[in-house]
């Protein structure tokens, strides 16, 4: 009886690590660092990503932030955060009124199923945030990139 308990308690920390790459980084903490404590509004951002990504190496990401993009009212920056990536800060896009539209598309790496958070910095000290969950699957016919 005693020995069985001992073995189970040894296994618990390893069981926790088996769940994906690591426990997710906290988007709230990252948001706070960038906004300096301001709470972003949960509106005004559209995130287009596939619900299921066949391969985490290249997942399309299309972001649109509603904004007239005038000198008085525009998106200054768009930050992207992937909570389960080994380096969660994916990219920061710098815009301004000359961009004309806060609409960007790229391809990102996702190290597993997770939420992708998008934080938009607007002129006048305003912030918007949105998040999207993506299921990242793994195929059977992987060759580990071997030549």
């Amino acid at each position: 009886m005693k020995r069985r308990h001992f073995v189970v308690s040894l296994m618990l920390p390893f069981a926790a690590r088996a769940q994906g790459f690591s426990s997710p980084a906290d988007p709230a903490k990252w948001i706070g660092e960038i906004t300096g404590g301001s709470t972003p509004e949960k509106s005004g951002i559209e995130i287009e990503m596939p619900q299921i990504a066949e391969n985490g190496n290249a997942v399309p990401l299309h972001i649109r932030v509603a904004s007239p993009m005038t000198s008085g009212d525009h998106v200054k920056a768009i930050h992207v955060f992937a909570e389960r990536n080994p380096r969660p800060r994916v990219a920061t896009f710098h815009l301004g009124p000359d961009a004309g539209r806060a609409d960007i598309t790229t391809r990102v790496r996702l190290g597993g199923t997770q939420n992708v958070t998008v934080l938009a910095e607007l002129s006048g000290g305003r912030w918007r945030v949105a998040a999207q969950n993506v299921l990242v699957t793994t195929g059977a016919c992987l060759d580990e990139g071997s030549l």
Partner: protein, 106 residues
């Protein structure tokens, strides 16, 4: 020189945002991969892309290892008059690349 391709529309309307598309040849090595013999492959990424129009910066990106290999970017630019659109990129070893296009404004 880091190779890449750039596309802008043939002609644009003054003041109306137009689409700019960029595709850059780069492995975006994230520093987590290993050779077959176990040696670590060091991080090697394009970390900044900047777009200027008529010499003024209108858009830029700070890229991390979470951007896919062969970075693909689509963004918008608004122009009042004809000019040269230039996109430049640089990696963490200081290697550079660029592409430019003349934009016809109707």
């Amino acid at each position: 020189m880091i190779e890449g391709r750039l596309r802008v529309p043939g002609s644009v309307k003054a003041g109306e945002p137009f689409e700019v598309r960029v595709l850059i040849l780069h492995p975006m090595e994230n520093g987590f991969r290993h050779e077959a013999d176990g040696r670590e492959i060091p991080m090697h990424i394009v970390n900044r892309v900047a777009c200027t129009y008529g010499g003024r910066e209108v858009f830029s990106v700070d890229l991390g290892t979470g951007i896919s290999a062969n970075p693909y970017l689509v963004f918008f630019v608004r122009a009042g008059q004809a000019g040269e659109l230039k996109v430049e990129w640089v990696d963490d070893k200081g290697e550079r690349g660029s592409a430019r296009a003349l934009v016809n404004v109707a």
